[in-house]
Assembly symmetry: C2
Homo-oligomer: 371 residues x 2
């Protein structure tokens, strides 16, 4: 039988570790005591404990196999299966995840992903530079000026700040149109395209009207706050419009950052975000105002986003949270070229020098991969 | 200016507490250093520190006011505003939330809520009894038999287990129809209606096809896993079909259960779930396999769901996670009558006695409010 293999670490387990492992396998699959589950259903659908291993004092590792059918081919149900109810258990952390072939074959994966984004911006090798339009409250013209200066400097990617949210699609259209127009102008001047990703938020008709505007304007992608609107909701909204999407990690830190509970960054912002089909996954990464708790998490999250995974395209890892232009070459040297670096406030603070400083940073990133 | 007032507790702050409070106010509102924010925008949109107070050793309480406009009248954006980026900060917990009148006036609130559900099931006073249809893998006939026995015993509410998920709407329709039909039959026999809430999951067209089935069958509500599909996504999906909805807390434990981070249960599963318009909010509550970490959380979550809050109807608090029939009267005595008690496995395990044991439990709950 094909199993989804999930490895959990329990810290100071509140009961006998083997019992706890069995409890998790049951809680997450059929949520019923063993004797009440008909044998045929237990055989085909009950989660099973594959191993129980003592790590250092007070920590135990359980590997649990879930019959692949339990995910129903849906990312939302997969999340539920992996961590739904046990989010209420004390000190259980999902550390590793292996998805079996049949499930990988059902997942859409990124439409464009890392290679598609490289092709779109025509940057085959080096690390990419992204900036963010903010603050909320700025006029469309001010945001467009920022976008224009960055694009003229040769910047690769622009995202809206996730605080940019309008109550109506008319205001959304006005702002996004202003930015899209200057970027078209910059592309004519420079001969290179800068990929602009507006932030689309809300629900129902309001969400759909914003997505319609993005498509009408001929834009290629959007920013979605996946842990607010729902990972699968975000994926299907983008897929229905054939849009690329950047998965923003707002709210996800409560899962990735604790040492003793939640879901490790490589699983949550790596494997699961890629499985859902995000083309870009932002996470803190090294340096800056917000940074990943462990260096090993950064490496492992990048690997989960880019290593072979069925036929799924790799997702572009993007480091965000207060990085500076000056850090960019250093981070790209340490992490390799297959990433994007998000520089927001530090770029905005350069005012009249945005264009020149962007150009100098792009040159420095280029130099790292020049033969 | 109308402010959303959020009180955070920082445990062992990683910097000077007053600085940290200012950092949170900025991070969550405009995400830009102070000197880069134009004064007019800072004036109208920057979060502001209202108080910084030392609690016991190592713990500090910050009250922060966010201009109400930052929520854009959207529940998703409100969540983002309250905890989005700082979910990556170390040891910050949102403990209290006060929403100002103008925002309360924009929120839909529950369609039916506690009074509407009482009216629907015609139980004006006592605590309500709910069961759950499971395990996944059972035939529609087996699940329908369980529903029928519970309804014949006078049970009030039935929810689908959140593991009940189909890949196609045809299988969903077959299962839900089987249960709806026996419940209609039971209502004819008993003269009382049992409220059946199917679990609806997934995204996009698949989600909408399931909701269509629910409406076609004339059912009144659904179960939605709000922390998987997105709180606002869930709310708008139900509202568009004029359905009642039960907010299931899968995944939410990672927010509510830690002592030093996340969002306290009274805010998350109380105020925010009610603001989004859930008619029923499940949370662990007292007793059973999964229970709330702190007794005070239970009281406070119930209060947040039911106390006066603008013109929003109260939401029915429901305690779930392995409660037993025998515990029901005791829990209802302790918590008062304005709650529902979810009994799953314990009821299923009673087999041929489900009907009689349900009837006896309903009698016991009735007796508590009999004059």
């Amino acid at each position: 039988m094909d199993l989804i293999k999930a490895a959990y670490v329990a810290t100071e387990p509140d009961r006998d570790p083997s019992t706890l492992a069995e409890n998790i396998a049951r809680e997450q699959s059929l949520e019923l005591t063993r004797e009440l589950i008909p044998p045929a259903i237990a055989e085909s659908l009950l989660g099973r404990v594959l191993s129980v291993e003592r790590l250092e004092a007070g920590r135990w590792r359980f590997e649990i196999g879930y019959p692949v059918e339990l995910a129903s081919g849906q990312i939302g149900q997969l999340l539920h299966l992996l961590y739904g109810n046990i989010s209420f258990y004390p000190r259980i952390r999902l550390e590793q995840l292996v998805l079996p072939e049949p499930l990988l074959g059902e997942l859409p994966g990124p439409r464009a992903g890392l290679p598609g984004i490289r092709a779109w911006v025509e940057v085959p090798q080096r690390a990419l530079l992204m900036t963010v339009l903010k603050p909320r409250g700025s006029s469309p013209a001010v945001l467009a000026d920022l976008a224009l200066a960055f694009a003229r400097g040769g910047g690769d990617l622009i995202k809206d700040d996730q605080n940019l949210v309008e109550r109506d699609a008319v205001a959304f259209r006005r702002r996004v149109t202003a930015c899209a127009e200057v970027l078209a102008r910059a592309a004519d001047e420079t001969g290179r395209r800068c990929l602009y990703l507006p932030h689309v938020a809300g629900s129902g008709d309001h969400l759909h009207r914003q997505l319609d505007v993005v498509v009408e304007l001929g834009l290629a992608g959007v920013v979605l706050c996946t842990w607010i609107m729902g990972l699968e909701t975000a994926a299907s909204a983008a897929r229905a419009r054939k849009l690329m999407w950047l998965a923003h990690p707002a709210m996800a830190g409560v899962l990735t950052e604790p040492a003793d509970r939640g879901i490790a960054s490589p699983v949550l912002l790596g494997t699961l975000v890629r499985a859902a089909g995000a083309d870009i996954s932002i996470f803190p990464g090294p340096g800056g105002r917000i940074r990943s708790r462990q260096f090993s998490d950064i490496e492992a999250t990048c690997r989960a986003l880019t290593r072979p995974m069925g036929s799924l395209a790799p997702t572009l890892p993007c480091f965000g949270g207060g990085k500076t232009l000056d850090q960019a070459p250093e981070i790209a040297t340490a992490q390799g070229p297959d990433c994007a670096l998000l520089v927001g406030g530090d770029l905005i603070g350069r005012g009249a020098d945005i264009r020149a400083d962007t150009a100098r940073t792009i040159d420095a990133l280029d130099a790292l991969t020049r033969p």
